[in-house]
């Protein structure tokens, strides 16, 4: 009985997760079904594998962004961070460092960028939108300074290629890494103080201070985590493309936020739906894949994508209501 109510409870406390997330899940399933009917190839194992592999780069970052947004923050710098950290990994590899060292350095760099964001937001108290936007511009600039716009290529080290291209049985390595990341963040968000405090800050910052939550500490950590994840995504992308592109990750900031919000996490903060975020990221990949598979007139792509984002959010409102009722 009490175990049962516990079940109910956790459902409740994750209401937004299931509720807010449910709409997008429905939308996703409908879309997949529709595409499956439209083109037999769509549901082929190969294609589904590709879709997941295409989704991971946005997904991983979006997991971090879910925390940021649940905290009533925003992070526009993720795309540049992805490119910057990918570059670092590639550069170190090319200088003959061992792959793991290079990756570690790259992840550290991402975390550092996140910390800078966090400090400027939490300590200097500049609006997160501006801080991360400036960081986005500056980081992209530093990339240009360093690469002069020319990618770093020739990353032929098989160990390094594993990260982005390897398989474990049938599961692509990047997908595996993404799943592990998801579970880790899921645990952090719903099972630990850290997650509680993150949501509390998003729900009522002043109260969070009054109950003794160290807001700055949490904020900086959340941005750092997001920077770390952007770097992880950067490493995977670099390993996947065997090159670090100076322009990598351009426009990711918006894709990421779209995935999070489509997933049912509100920009007003206080609630988060990590499952929804994952669904949101996959949905974006599915749509684009579908457009290619159906060879939709290339000029119509943006129109369709925009429309689907809107529909997904509506579906989510609707799905949410369903639950609430």
């Amino acid at each position: 009985m009490s175990a049962q109510t516990l079940g109910v409870k956790s459902l409740g406390s994750r209401f937004k997760l299931s509720g807010g997330g449910s709409g997008i899940l429905i939308a996703l399933i409908v879309l997949i079904a529709a595409l499956g009917l439209a083109s037999p190839r769509f549901l082929s194992l190969g294609n589904l594998t590709d879709i997941t592999r295409q989704a991971v780069f946005v997904a991983i970052i979006a997991f971090g962004a879910t925390l940021v947004i649940a905290m009533r923050g925003i992070d526009l710098s993720v795309g540049s961070t992805l490119a910057f950290t990918g570059l670092i990994a590639a550069d170190l590899m090319n200088r003959g460092f061992n792959p793991f060292a290079s990756v570690a350095a790259s992840l550290a760099a991402g975390t550092l960028i996140g910390i800078v964001n966090g400090v400027l937001v939490a300590k200097v108290k500049i609006a997160d939108f501006i801080v991360t936007m400036a960081m986005m511009v500056m980081t992209r600039g530093l990339i240009m300074v360093y690469t002069e716009g020319i990618p770093l290529t020739g990353l032929s080290n098989p160990t390094f290629q594993m990260f982005g291209q390897g398989f474990v049985w049938l599961v692509p390595m990047p997908v595996l890494i993404t799943i592990v990341t998801f579970l880790a963040i899921y645990f952090l968000l719903y099972q630990t103080r850290f997650g509680r405090y993150t949501l509390s800050i998003g729900s009522n910052p002043e109260a969070a201070r009054l109950v003794g939550i160290r807001i700055d500490h949490i904020k900086i950590t959340v941005y750092a985590l997001t920077g770390f994840l952007a770097a992880l995504s950067g490493v995977l992308l670099t390993s996947r493309l065997e090159a670090a592109m100076p322009e990598a990750g351009e426009g990711y900031e918006l894709d990421v936020i779209a995935a999070v919000v489509m997933g049912g996490t509100s920009l007003a903060g206080g609630k988060a739906s990590l499952l929804g975020t994952a669904a949101g990221a996959i949905l974006m990949a599915v749509v684009r894949n579908g457009l290619n598979i159906l060879n939709v007139n290339t000029f119509w792509h943006q129109v369709v994508i925009g429309a689907i984002i809107l529909m997904a959010v509506c579906a989510d409102k609707f799905g949410g209501r369903l639950k609430e009722a």
């Binding site: 190839r41 082929s44 190969g46 294609n47 590709d50 295409q54 780069f57 240009m144 002069e148 716009g149 020319i150 990618p151 290529t153 020739g154 291209q165 992308l237 996947r240 493309l241 065997e242 090159a243 592109m245 100076p246 322009e247 990598a248 351009e250 426009g251 990949a285 684009r288 894949n289 290619n292 598979i293 060879n295 290339t298 000029f299 792509h301 943006q302």
Partner: protein
Amino acid sequence: ADYGAAFPGILLDKVIPATGKEAKPQAKAHRPLKVGFLPTAMDTYYQRVLAGVKEEIDRLGGPSTIQLLVQAPKSQSATDDQVRTMEAWINEHVDAIAVALYNEGALEPLIRRATEAGIPVFLFNSPVADDPYYVSDIGYDQSDGGRAQAQWIVDHYKDKGEVKIAILEGLPGPHTAQRMKGFNEIISKYPNLKIVAKQPAGWVRAQGLSVTENMLTAHPDIDILVALYDEMALGGLQALKARKLNGKIAIVGYENMKEANDAIKVGDFAATVDTGAKEEGRNIVRAVEQFVMKGEGVPKKIFVAPKTYDASNIGTFDPSDYIYVAKSTK
């Protein structure tokens, strides 16, 4: 083999040896052949390439012979849009893929994967093609474009005393780098030709305008405005017009866009460089024909020479080169 026949105007000195990792030529019997066409974006330039592709396909019998799949990313640098499209096409087992690389080393794993799947990959308008898998790299040498611009300046200004040059670059990247490389190679030989300003204008007209205005403030006395793309040059022209300097400061553009071409006729532009966009399109299809229909090998690089147009020869340019001319009307 004499490639000259199959590819008129090909620069054989640009051809490099094959690596052996490319897909092998094969005469495919089934029709239509599915060919993917994947530029880095859809704009004036690629539309012109596409026109060439379509006309050449018409020559081969139209859609019943080659079914053309056209997909373009939402922006120049959206490499991961290209990744998606490539993967979709590979899963679809198209017969050939023609892709424009935005950057050096882009898509290498995808090109490899396509090649391993037996799909030949042709590159076009790719500033730096250095992966071992593509069958053929079609287009022109971007640094030749820069050289052509510089050469025109040299021909007209080498003994005009000190000449001040301002340059509108594109976004930092291989296109800018390659074109500047060629340009500098030649200009640097002439100490009287001075580059006094070099600023980025993001390939677009609006920035071409404002950056030119700003450069003119710093250097009111420039003699030549060089732009690495006509869009930026046309923005620059707006700035000159506003100052009644059009025709006084020589604009040297790049790409021979229609407007640039007209501007030369009225004397607003001094010169522009035509990089053979439509011919590039034709060569793509010719290469596909050779490689996938006839099963014959093709050169690793199918480059043509950029052609400089100015008042002296603008009349010789055939305007139909801008548009797709359906076969029937030919």
